[in-house]
Symmetry: C2
Subunit: 449 residues, 2 copies
């Protein structure tokens, strides 16, 4: 089944709203799945959103606030009355409710929290910073005690079951709420009914500290194919769970962050943020880029008299600097992604450098030869082809070295290679390209004029 | 718990192998979790791998072949005897076994398949192309019939349970093996024991056609937070399931593909492939880049006489072309990632274009002013600052237009924007930058010399 065609339903909802036929609008929305409900809801004007939301089933309102983009959800929640908001928050997954409370005006958040029935469940989640494992977790309600029997455990689940978070693993606690084991629902239903949980549980449980980076949590879940990862404090008390839907979100967020940073956009954000926010994310980079471009400008200035004598040299600037710049970007991309996925580590540094030098040499021989041929075909002085081709070859090797070494050094300095490397690599390939090219031209000046 | 320190265990395994103490090596490996086993195994020399693998429990051998990188697993499998290989394949998850058979020599694959006990389960999986939903699925053993009672269903699961794939949803079939509903394990244990499955199942099941792209399957699973996605043929017969571990793999693969393509690397591959393969993935791009750089070369050639008269102009080439090129890359990055995550679509095209033009204008005003100031400070002729600043402003707007329009047009033409756009955008920003800059310089030539 393909995702539903939101546009069609949206037209019908709009028509119902235009006729103030609330029941029909509500029926149309409630027939959708949560992510589709949220997509449709986001496309309505605020006045319609405010009319519609309180008329929906509480569960659907909660789903919509969970599924909307963060900023959008905060706006909608900000326009709700305190009691309406509190009732919806009570219905939301605890981690989503905590996130939403963190995104709205702190005074309103305090009021809503005071009006909530399940505030006690949310408060501990508010203590952890965003982007840590603790900030990602939800409260773990479906836990078992190690001394229960299988039958007692199943009866316990039947009581708390329908209200709790989706369940795949049941974490097992001792008297002091310390995490001591895990049982899967499947193990539970296949075990003899009078066995004790502590005799069927597995004790070797992958867990994460609440203060760990969310990326570490995602990496553990993805590496060990976990659907839920328990979050503990330093004394191994179970604080909460990170569930698989968060894993996908974190993976996409981290991939987007890498892509943005490699593309020179500082902060991961949705594509449709306002111009001022976009500028904050892009201008600093361009200003830095301007500063580094001045290094190449200085190189070019120092060769001013050569350029004045052989102006045709400028023709191959885009080739000598640009094409090698692309080669540097290629090397950088492979190394940064490898570091990011854990497929490369610092101890592979020398091997990676060696490989990139070989690739640069091979690329340089081919592209350098092509450049020489093109220069000759275009009818410049015969030495131009030699100079441009040789400069390309040298700069391709420089590009390989820079593309491999820069991100490795950044990683060693604990700076995100995706953030810091692209500008350094392009600065190096530009400056080296102009130096090799104009340096060689100076040596062979007699043959060029 | 942090991932285990493989290095330490590896040293001890190496020592055990050096002393031919197989039992100790086996014990050390078997104490690890599968992904750690595979990492350690991959670091051993082939001779040690071949000695060790047949000595491990069948289940551990199967885990290692499942977790190794594709190429590595194919190599190890290629060195195994047919019967050893067949026994391990029988123990592997069906989708992983099918993938491995597809990666090894076809004759050997046929022999191994003939020697397998569960070949009939694998054969249907071999029919689907890689990178389709069918190519990703595993066989679905844990299904229920709509006419079963809850008690019968639980008894059925207890019988087939331990052997089957991890279970979160139980898909419900009719007499003709058509997918008619879904029940969660949790619903099953909370339902009265004499209810019929068809009365408790949900009938609105998200599903995917076997021929659909794997990206579509991943998008459905990620959008609707699914742990398993049923794969059907055109008559809605259940063919298999895609499980959540594949989702994470596909998401990472697709993100890597986007990152590589934006970085000018044609094919997604691990960072440590050989130089010849790396060249196949990079050289065509560089050759194409060389061809497009010749457009800028032509622009520069046509302004040769201006450059000869005012060689200092060359000083700002890296600024006028380079910094705007970075701005184009920023716009491109945001639009390509937005299209890739489904946050942007073609109907947002004009709005995205408008936003990028505004951003380009704002960036251009700031960076253009900085360029003017720098040019004046560096002591060029007064008009140089004006020309460089104005060219930067104009090219920033061009970069915004190119960065938004090019990927949108590619998307409309059904070409992957991540693949085709970067080279076009940089060609446009280069050629426009030189044209604006040298064109303005020609107009103001009298004030520059």
């Amino acid at each position: 089944m393909a995702p539903i065609d939101i546009e069609k339903v949206l037209d019908r909802v709009r028509q119902a709203l235009a006729e103030s036929d609330w029941n029909r609008a509500v029926d149309l929305v409630e027939a959708l799945r949560p992510p589709d409900q949220a997509d449709l809801f986001a496309d309505l004007p605020p006045t319609d959103q405010d009319e519609l939301l309180p008329r929906l089933e509480l569960e659907d309102s909660a789903d919509i606030l969970e599924e909307l983009e963060e900023e959008e959800a905060a706006e909608v929640a900000g326009r709700l009355g305190t009691n309406d908001l509190a009732r919806i928050l009570d219905e939301m997954e605890p981690d989503e409710a905590a996130d939403l409370l963190g995104d709205i005006d702190p005074r309103r958040a305090k009021e809503a929290l005071a009006a909530m029935g399940e505030a006690e469940e949310i408060r501990p989640l508010l203590e952890h910073e965003d982007e840590t494992a603790g900030g990602l977790m939800t409260s773990a309600k479906m836990t078992l005690h190690e001394s229960m029997t299988v039958d007692q455990a199943i009866a316990h689940l039947r009581v708390i079951g329908p209200e709790a978070e989706a369940v795949y693993y049941l974490f097992v606690l001792d008297d002091e709420v310390r995490l001591v084991g895990v049982v899967s629902l499947r193990q539970l239903i296949s075990a003899p009914s009078d066995r004790r949980i502590k005799d069927i549980m597995e004790t070797d449980v992958v867990r994460v500290q609440a203060s760990a980076d969310q990326e570490e949590a995602a990496r553990l879940m993805s590496r060990y194919d976990l659907l839920a990862l328990p979050v503990v404090d330093q004394e191994n008390h179970l604080l909460g769970l990170i569930t698989h839907d968060d894993l996908v979100d974190v993976l996409e967020e981290e991939a987007t962050e890498d892509i943005y940073r490699l593309g020179g956009v500082l902060k991961e954000h949705p594509p449709d943020i306002g111009v001022p926010s976009a500028l904050r994310s892009r201008l600093p980079w361009l200003a830095l880029n301007l500063a580094t471009a001045l290094i190449s400008a200085t190189v070019l200035k120092s060769f001013q008299s050569v350029i004045a004598q052989v102006a045709i040299l400028a023709m191959f600037f885009p080739v000598v600097a640009g094409v090698s710049g692309s080669a540097g970007t290629q090397a950088l991309t492979v190394v940064v992604r490898g570091l990011s996925l854990g497929e490369l580590s610092l101890r592979d540094g020398l091997r990676a450098l060696g490989r990139e030098v070989s690739i640069g040499l091979a690329n340089g021989l081919v592209v350098g030869s092509l450049v020489s041929i093109v220069a000759t075909l275009l009818g410049g002085p015969p030495a131009l082809g030699l100079v441009a081709g040789l400069a390309t070859l040298l700069n391709m090797v420089a590009a390989g070295i820079a593309g491999a070494a820069v991100p490795m050094v950044m990683e060693a300095l604990k700076v995100d290679p995706a953030l810091a490397s692209p500008i350094l690599v392009s600065t190096i390939t530009d400056a080296c390209g102009y130096t090799f090219y104009l340096g060689l031209a100076t040596l062979l000046l007699a043959r060029l004029v």
